[in-house]
């Protein structure tokens, strides 16, 4: 799975996710990547999110929207919201991660599995590429 969240000069957020899904999938199985609110979500008032991981769990938690909802209803900061949501995924037995970005340009890269590849670049800081 690959994904991207972006913040433009006008202060607008967007999110996208694209995937081949799961090896040996059957019966038209679909994971979280194409499900708005699970694998992808964006709202200028809260954040943009793209997820990657064990899709069944990400759908059940409604991961991307869950992060935004914490910000919207409780004013939870982005990183804390992302961490709380990934903890819910872990509690159910799922793993994976998210990248998230808010309208101030704050980012979260929360994950609970090894091998997450991610990178970011902003107008006021150099590019960072990280592989765990």
């Amino acid at each position: 799975t690959v994904g991207c969240v972006a913040l433009d000069r006008a202060g607008n957020l967007a999110a996208g996710t694209s995937t081949g899904g799961m090896t040996n999938k059957k019966y038209g199985r679909v994971g979280d990547a194409p499900i708005i609110g699970a694998g992808t979500y964006a709202n200028n008032a809260t954040c943009a999110v793209s997820a990657t991981g064990w899709g069944e769990f990400f759908i059940r938690v409604g991961v991307a929207r869950d992060i935004a909802a914490q910000m919207e209803y409780r004013g939870t900061p982005l990183r804390a919201a992302a961490a709380a949501t990934i903890a819910k995924v872990a509690q159910l037995g799922g793993d994976g991660g998210v990248i998230a970005l808010d309208a101030q340009g704050d980012i979260a890269m929360e994950f609970n599995s090894p091998g997450m590849y991610r990178a970011f670049r902003f107008s006021d800081r150099p590019a960072v590429i990280a592989i765990y």
């Binding site: 799975t1 433009d8 000069r9 995937t19 679909v30 200028n44 990657t52 991981g53």
Partner: protein
């Protein structure tokens, strides 16, 4: 005002410790290319939506990632692709699933959002919609790589092995590195 982007190339794929320096360099180069492509759009005043699709297009075209070319195989031995996109300004959204012949699924997800009255289209219907917009269908072989074919073979062998050993008394298999990499490629 700050602008920029964050990308990911999947989780639970090859762990760094199990990766050769050459392979790690390939991944870093690919991530950097996608990052710079998206950033260039933003730097030139483009929209967040345009930046997202520009960055994802490069990863879809790169066989290192499980998206577009180089995607994992389904049980029928073909690649089956999904994508979605959302615009934070309008909360418009578009999604596609179970595609077999669309080179860049994220572009079609964007077009579902911008050029249809729907949010999600799947399978043959989504591909018919793509054709109505002038998309060229590509053969499924375009997405297929030997590395992913080998992963499918291993997954199916493992599945057969498990089926042979299955008894009601056995606990569920733990999630280990092997199953994780098979799941997500």
């Amino acid at each position: 005002k700050r602008y920029g982007l964050v990308i990911h190339g999947g989780a639970g794929v090859i762990e760094r410790a199990a990766m050769s320096p050459e392979r790690e360099a390939e991944y870093r180069t690919a991530l950097n290319q996608a990052l710079q492509a998206g950033y260039a759009v933003l730097d030139q005043g483009g929209s967040a939506l345009e930046a997202v699709t520009a960055a994802i297009n490069l990863m879809e075209d790169n066989p290192l990632f499980n998206a577009g070319k180089g995607a994992v195989f389904n049980a029928d031995g073909i690649c089956e692709l999904d994508a979605s996109v959302m615009d934070g300004r309008t909360q418009a959204a578009g999604a596609v699933a179970a595609l077999h012949h669309i080179k860049n699924p994220i572009n079609l997800a964007r077009d579902v959002m911008l050029k249809s009255e729907h949010v999600m289209l799947v399978g043959d219907g989504a591909e018919k919609f793509a054709q109505s917009l002038g998309y060229q269908l590509v053969p499924n072989a375009y997405f297929q790589t030997d590395w992913r074919r080998e992963q499918l073979k291993k997954a199916q062998e493992q599945e057969k092995e498990k089926a042979g050993k299955k008894t009601a008394a056995l606990p569920a298999a733990p999630v280990d590195y092997f199953t994780r990499t098979l799941r997500w490629g």
